[in-house]
């Protein structure tokens, strides 16, 4: 494919510098020899290829993702950040996939919840700072408002230790991204019992509006020609159903 004209707004052209918090196998994680791998890497590579840029993937903690972006340490946050209106006021966001939350229990758990409320009074492990934590706290509040016992929410800095806690029966359930729950089920000992909760768009986040526009165009092209779906299918992830556009401080959007 022919290369488009020069790309504006990069911090160190011709590199497309992306940051990820590699704590979400199989979507983004580090292999035992230290390579960042997973679906998000493939996505980033494909975007860079279409823009004739060299992809660079950095690994960082979740807390640093936003700050590093604002401080021009990287161009893109490519870590499966959930789209929220609050974040869209802060950064240029490009929703391109849908993620949902699963609730995992131990294989031999006596609980058979049909809905989230059935876990009332249980202890729930979540990773700090994720949308999982956000929804867990929301659901907890809802339960308490209904005068039922809430959740005992335990925030871990790392979803791996949250699942270790589940296996050690230190918590009753873990809230996690669908894909992570599936991955853990493969490992054995735990099973997702509720899936597809709170489907939420997941976005790339950028600082530079022009660059964001370019990336949105590329992603839209990928969605149209089916690349996006082909890329995501093996991971059990679905693309954003509608048109992929930028939503941010410079692109007021009517989508929310």
């Amino acid at each position: 494919a022919p290369c488009p004209q020069a790309v504006e707004g990069l911090i160190s052209p011709p590199h497309l510098v992306m940051a990820t918090n590699p704590t979400l196998p199989p979507l983004q994680y580090v292999t035992v020899d230290g390579q960042i791998a997973g679906m998000r890497v493939e996505l980033g590579n494909e975007i860079a290829r279409r823009l004739c840029l060299t992809p660079v993937m950095l690994s960082t903690s979740f807390a640093q993702l936003t700050l590093g972006l604002l401080e021009k340490r990287w161009d893109v946050i490519n870590t499966g950040m959930f789209y929220t209106a609050q974040r869209a006021r802060l950064m240029e966001m490009i929703p391109y996939e849908i993620q949902a939350i699963s609730v995992s229990l131990n294989d031999d758990s006596a609980l058979h919840p049909a809905r989230l409320e059935d876990l009332s009074g249980s202890s729930i492990g979540v990773e700090m700072g994720g949308i999982e934590e956000h929804h867990a706290r929301e659901a907890d509040q809802a339960l308490r408002n209904a005068r039922r016992p809430g959740f005992d929410i335990k925030t871990f800095q790392n979803v791996g230790i949250a699942f270790a806690a589940l296996r050690a029966r230190q918590v009753t359930a873990v809230f996690s991204i669908d894909a992570v729950a599936r991955r853990n089920a493969l490992q054995g000992g735990v099973k997702p019992v509720l899936k597809g909760l709170y489907p939420t768009p997941v976005a790339l986040a950028l600082r530079d509006p022009a660059l964001a526009q370019r990336l949105a165009d590329v992603l839209e092209a990928m969605r149209e020609d089916g690349t996006l779906e082909r890329l995501m299918a093996p991971y059990g992830v679905v693309p954003f159903p509608g048109r992929i556009v930028v939503s941010g401080p410079s692109h007021p959007s009517d989508m929310h």
Partner: protein
């Protein structure tokens, strides 16, 4: 995004959520310091023992617990013990981990203090017929304690901040709560300034307390300065006497 929000700063400063986090930090520090001191005392005494059966386990303990990270110790206690069907609360796990870890460091401090008690004092106690146990409690520990206070104070300062490692097993102390709130508004500097302020308050309060304890323990070792000054002034007169 502005650089600094005073509004945010004061909101967090007044937040009961953060305040309770600080209380938890103080509580964990106090409990694991006291228990770690007792355990450390035991280990220090064991390590000084002539009997290998006592000294070798103590040596191993210190080597192991000083040599491995607290984070690992906490995770093993939290996720490993349940495999032996011992299931403890996050707070209990945190305090156990902090205690075991701190004891290793305190044991070395206490041992140094005991070593610094002059052997002549021990010999004098022995010559008076005191039993080894009486010598330990009445002579060695009280004299060592005074020497131990400054490094002990350092340990308290360190432990106040080390407690934040317990966040790895989801303990919500001051630092963890600050980090949880960071996710909400991204006011990193404001929140962490509040946290730093709390820590400064705690360490300053401790420093004050430590000075009081030191003052008390140093009492027998001050040449009662008031009297000494009087003596010095009177000396020229008294030296005329039979001295």
């Amino acid at each position: 995004m502005q650089i600094w929000s005073w509004h945010g700063f004061f909101t967090y400063l007044g937040s009961p959520y953060i305040f309770r986090g600080a209380l938890i930090t103080v509580y964990m520090t106090a409990v694991s310091m006291v228990m770690g001191f007792l355990l450390g005392l035991l280990i220090a005494v064991m390590k000084r023992s002539q009997r290998r059966l006592l000294s070798w386990p103590a040596r191993f303990y210190v080597w192991f617990f000083r040599g491995t990270p607290l984070l690992v110790q906490l995770v093993v206690i939290y996720t490993g013990l349940p495999k032996l069907d011992i299931r403890l609360s996050v707070l209990a796990c945190s305090i156990i981990g902090l205690t075991l870890n701190e004891a290793a460091y305190l044991a070395e401090i206490i041992r140094a203090g005991l070593n610094a008690v002059p052997t002549g004092q021990i010999a004098a106690a022995r010559a008076l017929g005191l039993s080894e146990r009486q010598i330990a409690w009445r002579i060695a520990f009280p004299q060592a304690f005074r020497l131990i206070i400054p490094p002990l104070g350092n340990s308290v300062n360190g432990l106040l901040k080390t407690t934040s490692v317990t966040s790895v097993i989801s303990m919500e102390e001051l630092m963890q709560r600050s980090q949880i709130l960071v996710q909400d508004q991204f006011m990193v500097l404001e929140l962490f300034s509040v946290a730093a302020l709390y820590y400064l308050l705690m360490t300053t309060a401790w420093d004050f307390l430590q000075r009081r304890i030191e003052h008390y323990a140093e009492r027998p070792y001050r040449r009662q300065q008031k009297t000494a000054a009087v003596e010095a002034i009177e000396l020229p007169a008294t030296t005329q006497d039979a001295r």
